[in-house]
Symmetry: C2
Subunit: 463 residues, 2 copies
């Protein structure tokens, strides 16, 4: 029964106590104890501790790990962190202790962060020339393409083999591949002609030919397919691994789902940061300077928008001086314009990201948005009309605010819908439309509409 106790959820939680005791161990340079503590942890957990350590402490720990685990830990670190950490080590140690045990995609990612000179140094210390060659190959692809995501580790079997021979070949190749998922079936020229699941391999007679068992309906991407496309394909077809081929169909590598999960998350975060007005990929743990820099541009655009808003109001200053009540609703109208615009554009941005918006049909999209705007615009205008009817002493103001609110909601909806669609058409990231520029334009247009309407109404009703 004691055996059962250790099962169930056994997930590592990084606690302050744990970090403190680990620090203690490091200070005492107690290697044996450190090895014991780290031995119980998954590489991902050890990577999580990195944030709490300085480079010297991390060095002490990571050099105690066996090479495979050390490599896994480095692969799990943030790019910034692995760069900083590895730069503190001589290139021979980097090669022998970390890179040699890494999967080729992780190794290429890590080396991609280094200067070219440093890359060459590290590569020169890698004993296995094939491995070094694979890494150099991978470094030649753009980061945000299938080539930049893929690893060279995979199992490829010639279609003319029988299962028996395939198993022998598999044993040779499998050593370097952590998870096989699929066997890729190729012809004599290395062209991908099918896939074979391990399940099929296990369930069929040993004499069957690979070519007769292979699934020939391959879903694959080219080395230059953008990573967003890769993520969409793997998500849509529920794939855990996706083969990558060159322009004449030769198998070049494979992408596994764990890397794509990161892409999906990063995409979502990029859109999120855009809509929150943050221009760089930052995390709350980044430096004060980096955090300020990431936020400054939006604030600057907001400030300039505010100044233009001040011009608009200044143009109507005479009206406000005559009837100060107009000023009461300036922020309300400006804010509603911004809000409605963000709502409209974010729905389009998300729809485009999801592929749930079918291309074309801008007109039908706009007329639908118009209906939504009419519905909300009428309700809100009536509400503010009722409020002002009871609490405002000026009928002209009551009318101006309601009319302006209605017009602003219609304008901001259509503008918020149109801009991301246009950006997307011209292959510009539509998420830009949720950012500062459009919100600011809607703020300003709101003021212009409100003040123009109230000038007309006040002039009509007062004269």
């Amino acid at each position: 029964m004691t055996d059962n106790k250790q099962h169930g959820t056994q997930i590592f939680e990084l606690s302050k106590n744990f970090v403190d005791s680990l620090r203690q161990i490091i200070q005492e340079k107690n290697e044996q104890k450190a090895i014991e503590v780290l031995g119980k942890l998954h590489a991902a957990d050890i990577a999580e501790i990195y944030d709490k350590l300085n480079v010297k402490e991390a060095k002490f720990l990571y050099l105690l790990l066996d090479k495979e685990k050390a490599a896994d830990v480095i692969a799990e670190l943030d790019e910034d962190d692995s760069e900083k950490f590895l730069n503190a080590l001589p290139s021979e140690i980097v090669a022998k202790q970390f890179i040699e045990e890494m999967d080729s995609d992780d190794a290429a990612d890590v080396l991609g962060e280094m200067s070219e000179k440093r890359q060459e140094e590290v590569l020169s210390h890698i004993k296995d020339h094939e491995q070094a060659g694979d890494i150099v190959d991978l470094l030649s692809y753009e980061d945000d393409t299938a080539g930049g995501l893929m690893a060279k580790e995979l199992v490829a079997i010639n279609q003319d083999l029988s299962i028996t021979k395939c198993l022998i070949e598999l044993r040779n190749q499998a050593e370097t591949v952590d998870e096989i998922y699929y066997i890729y079936v190729v012809d004599n020229k290395g062209v991908l002609v099918g896939t074979l699941s391990l399940k099929k391999l296990l369930l069929n007679s040993e004499k069957s030919l690979i070519s007769s068992l292979a699934n020939k309906e391959i879903i694959s991407v080219k080395t230059d397919t953008p990573e967003i496309e890769v993520a969409k394909i793997m998500k849509k077809y529920d794939l855990v691994a996706l083969p990558v081929v060159d322009s004449i169909g030769r198998l070049k590598g494979r992408i596994t789902i764990d890397d794509v999960v990161d892409v999906i998350q990063e995409e979502a975060e990029k859109d999120y940061q855009m809509i929150s007005g943050i221009t760089e990929d930052v995390e709350s743990d980044d430096s004060v300077y980096k955090l300020s820099r990431a936020r400054f541009p939006w604030l600057l655009i907001g400030l300039m928008g505010g100044i233009i808003g001040a011009w608009v109001i200044g143009y109507f200053e005479g009206d406000i001086a005559k009837y100060a009540g107009i000023a009461l609703f300036l922020p309300l109208i400006a804010a509603m314009g911004g809000n409605v615009g963000v709502q409209s554009s974010s729905i389009i941005v998300q729809g485009l990201a999801n592929h749930s918006i079918s291309k074309g049909g801008v007109f039908s999209r706009l007329s639908k948005e118009l209906m939504v705007a009419l519905l909300n615009g009428i309700s809100l205008s009536i509400l503010i009309f009722i409020y002002n009817h009871f609490f405002s002493d000026s009928y002209a103001l009551t009318l101006s605010v309601s009319l302006a609110l209605f017009s602003v909601i219609i304008f901001a909806s259509l503008f918020g819908t149109l801009v991301p669609l246009i950006l997307d058409k011209y292959k510009i990231d539509p998420a830009l439309a949720t950012g500062p520029f459009i919100t600011t334009v809607n703020d300003i247009m709101g003021l212009l509409i409100y003040l123009s309407i109230s000038r007309i109404i006040f002039d009509v009703l007062m004269i």
Copy 2:
């Protein structure tokens, strides 16, 4: 060579032409042609076409599919769509044509959308009692827990078997399991004691005992583990399948990465909709009414905020009547408060979602945020000071605007940081802090700060 041509990227793109020709086929009731066209498509592609068809057209097509593909198509549909489609069919057809071929998790999801009476009807038509029992089991778990995500299809092998016997057992069990990924090793009581990869099975001698090969360091979750936790674990440890156990460690099911990718995406979308002021899970293809309803609450809060803002300004109306220039910067100050607040809170929300913020340390988080706010606040205040120095004729106004802007940035930063941290502490979704309420509070506070400061400065400088 002709054989090669069909390889490379072969991804289905839904075109208007394709839909038109498919419609044509449906109108002609050309079953043979329809089967031919659908035969070339992946289930996920067929599901994508659903949006373009009415229920009657979909019925014609889906009933032509072989059962397994039909089941896959239904599993790929949006929940709303599959609900609507299946409700148009008699329960016997639902059971026999669709549910019987589905994986248990998909079947439970689809049945979960039906009324209890309808569920019973459909279940009564399922021939395999074990399958029906599995579905009923799964229906008992909460949707957003590991139990609600998991499927019953998995390969479980007793630890006391040899590889030879394991292979025989595997052949029996594998039929119902699409992708095996791992073999789960259990003891006589059904308690999960380890995992075994197919790779290990293939690479070891046939006489080895399963228990000696199994990896005993299992990462598993309980049936009641929240799905967000499941997603975090699978992402962190790069898992493609995760076993689910009950409170005494017995293996109950497994969760595969494709379901978790959806959870990750949904989580990101929820936060995105929150920050864009949309209260329901909507897509741009939803009805006008649903879209309006999802946006109305934020607009209403914005409107109420605007009204409170109007009270605040009304309280200072005398000041504005005396010096209308104050009105010029009302929208600027309100907007900057809102912007800064969203920036601060969204960084915290994302950090909490990522686990990149370590628990505790509210004070250090606030002091860092204060530094960022000081940096940006000082720069922006100086910029607006310079602008007003040249373009404004009132020194009091120039001073008021700069001081107010600085104070608002500090206030909104700290408020925007604190609120999500507090919400998180009390187990409330911190993303609420990026939504309408906080933005509105920051808008109003901005006005209050600005008008108070300018009253003091105008009083001091003018008297």
